[in-house]
Symmetry: C2
Subunit: 365 residues, 2 copies
């Protein structure tokens, strides 16, 4: 692999097509169903060096590297952690990342064309669960002939998938790495998510989810994204980056201008039906409710866990990570809880690679 | 006055009509202009026992008491603090509260009929400032023949008015009482307010502010209120009151049902044009920016200050109150900063009367 600006050239995304379709937890089947994925590094001869990486709300299968060596191209979403010589070292590990069920970056999504009608699934697309995301990842690993993983890793919604892996397929991996996540979204986060969905659903152009004939971008999605974005930022980071500063000589607050830019950029790339579905899947997951207690959810998980929390993360506060830690300790499994201090809130796992890399490197040694 | 269920029967609201109109800080005049106000208790012979109370975003001139003794009628918004024998004791003090400029509870508002056109002012109504609110209160006191106040008191936006009183009319009062407020809204609060305004303004029924022909309630206002409501609640209170509980046998989260109820109730009573204007006024105020430093903003203020902060208030964190305290101390004026611990967040000043009353009572002794 060619090295470019401290990253590498990644292979293009691949697709696994399930001709008989994918059956969602709530009973519906979409057939055929495609899972878009990428792999990084080399699978060793005994297929024992694979790490599954699970992505968060707005990301994709493109976890690391660049497709070309163009200067203006951004590398994969976890490029700071995954690479040759990096925390998840591609000299040692083979990394797999699949676009999650419900997301709109290659895996069959609400915006995909239903071959039966020739129009997008839209409102007819099922409401996926975190279990669905994990089951699709498992189907992909089966297809790749990987029967055991060195680790499963992810942050935020990605970390929720990792914890669901512990509940559903506890014998599949030696270790897990989670960051900025928990076994359920606390009520404050749920409330923000619900408000975001209401903003989208009350946009008259949304049309109940069947808006694909309308060329206008959905304003509701732009504004809902601003709500989501807020939950990723700490008060401290907002103060440092924006404070009450105005834009140029205008009276517009810089934070307003920034959110308009980010909201529009996001809504141009992301699909509203995917947004409300993936976020709702996040809200619905609650391992303690599903298995009666967190201890029982992790009852069959015997591997090693690295749980990373961030002191300014208010979407998944440190106390949520402590609940997971406590349950795993009660079950007698080895847990490392790294409490990291950073002003960057929930998004620390996508920003402060100097802070998260040492723990990951030591854990995977 | 007749006592009823630990409160009293309040006199009906009164109106001061300014036939020549009210001139807003930004230059526009609305004429005639009415200020709706209420008074509680009795002005003493030398007119020295008056306390001006300033209300917050969603409140009105009805600060205390009930209009009738009906069981189902709710008393005024600060009835827990203002009353006979209460923290602001009507046996001693005469309390004045005016509906603020921009608000829709009796004072000439965007929803008021413009006599020149016979239609509501709507989008033509000026964008008021906190200075406008204070100037209108001053005009009312002049009308009432009150040349000196025992105190000015308020919480949240009401407290911002109080601090503006210290800057504009520092010789008018002996003392101030503020709760859950600061000399500017920190950026996190501004960001939520901006998002709320975007939600309202992107409701297609809003029509740029001229929506009064439309009988439908504005969904945008309902959802914007949910955003605002969130900033008043602490994570702790959300967890205690709602957690991840579902409504009855449904999958709807209780917090969702609660917000739908509260959002609809609010939007049925409050006007969207007032909401965006009053909240924007709050965001625009910044005494440190306006006077270069907070010390200079309070340079002429020589009275006593009681500043009350709440540990779980994340709209106006304790550190904001400390900035005000520090500036007043630097100016050599007497300040008491009461740090109160309560799970009830920003709204503590409207909830925990047992916690706030002792400080107020001692301060006014």
């Amino acid at each position: 692999m060619q090295s470019t600006q401290n990253t590498f050239i990644a292979a293009p995304p691949k697709q696994l097509v399930l001709p008989d379709g994918f059956r969602f937890l709530h009973g519906q089947t979409i057939a055929p169903f495609s899972i878009t994925y990428e792999t990084f590094g080399t699978l060793n001869a005994d297929r024992s060096n694979a790490i599954l990486v699970c992505h968060a709300l707005s990301a994709s299968a493109h976890a690391a590297g660049k497709y070309t060596d163009a200067d203006d191209e951004r590398p994969g979403w976890w490029d700071g952690l995954i690479g040759y010589g990096k925390g998840i070292d591609l000299d040692r590990f083979f990394v797999v990342c699949a676009n999650i069920v419900g997301s709109c970056f290659g895996t069959t999504a609400p915006s995909s064309i239903d071959p039966a009608t020739g129009t997008p699934y839209g409102s007819r697309y099922p409401w996926p669960t975190i279990e669905d995301m994990v089951h699709a990842q498992k189907a992909l690993l089966d297809h790749l002939g990987i029967t055991r993983l060195r680790a499963v890793a992810g942050g935020s919604l990605g970390g929720m998938q990792v914890l669901m892996w512990c509940a559903l397929y506890p014998e599949m991996m030696d270790a897990i790495i989670t960051m900025a996540t928990g076994a359920a979204v606390p009520v404050q986060g749920i409330a923000w998510h619900i408000i975001g969905r209401k903003i989208i659903e009350s946009d008259t152009h949304f049309g109940g989810g069947d808006y694909y004939d309308n060329p206008e971008p959905l304003r509701g999605l732009q504004v809902a994204r601003m709500v989501g974005h807020m939950t990723y930022l700490s008060a401290q980071a907002l103060q440092t980056k924006f404070a009450r500063r105005r834009r140029g000589n205008t009276r517009q607050f810089e934070i307003d201008s920034y959110f308009e830019y980010q909201g529009k950029k996001f809504a141009a790339l992301y699909d509203a039906n995917s947004y409300i579905r993936v976020q709702a899947a996040m809200d619905e997951m609650d391992l303690a409710e599903q298995y009666e207690t967190l201890e029982q959810a992790f009852a069959k998980w015997r591997g090693e866990s690295l749980l990373v929390s961030f002191d300014t993360d208010w979407l998944f506060p440190v106390s949520e990570v402590e609940s997971v830690e406590k349950a795993m300790r009660a079950n007698g499994t080895p847990v490392t809880h790294e409490r990291i201090s950073s002003p960057n809130g929930h998004d620390t796992f996508l920003i402060d690679y100097d802070l998260i890399t040492p723990s990951v490197r030591a854990f995977l040694r």
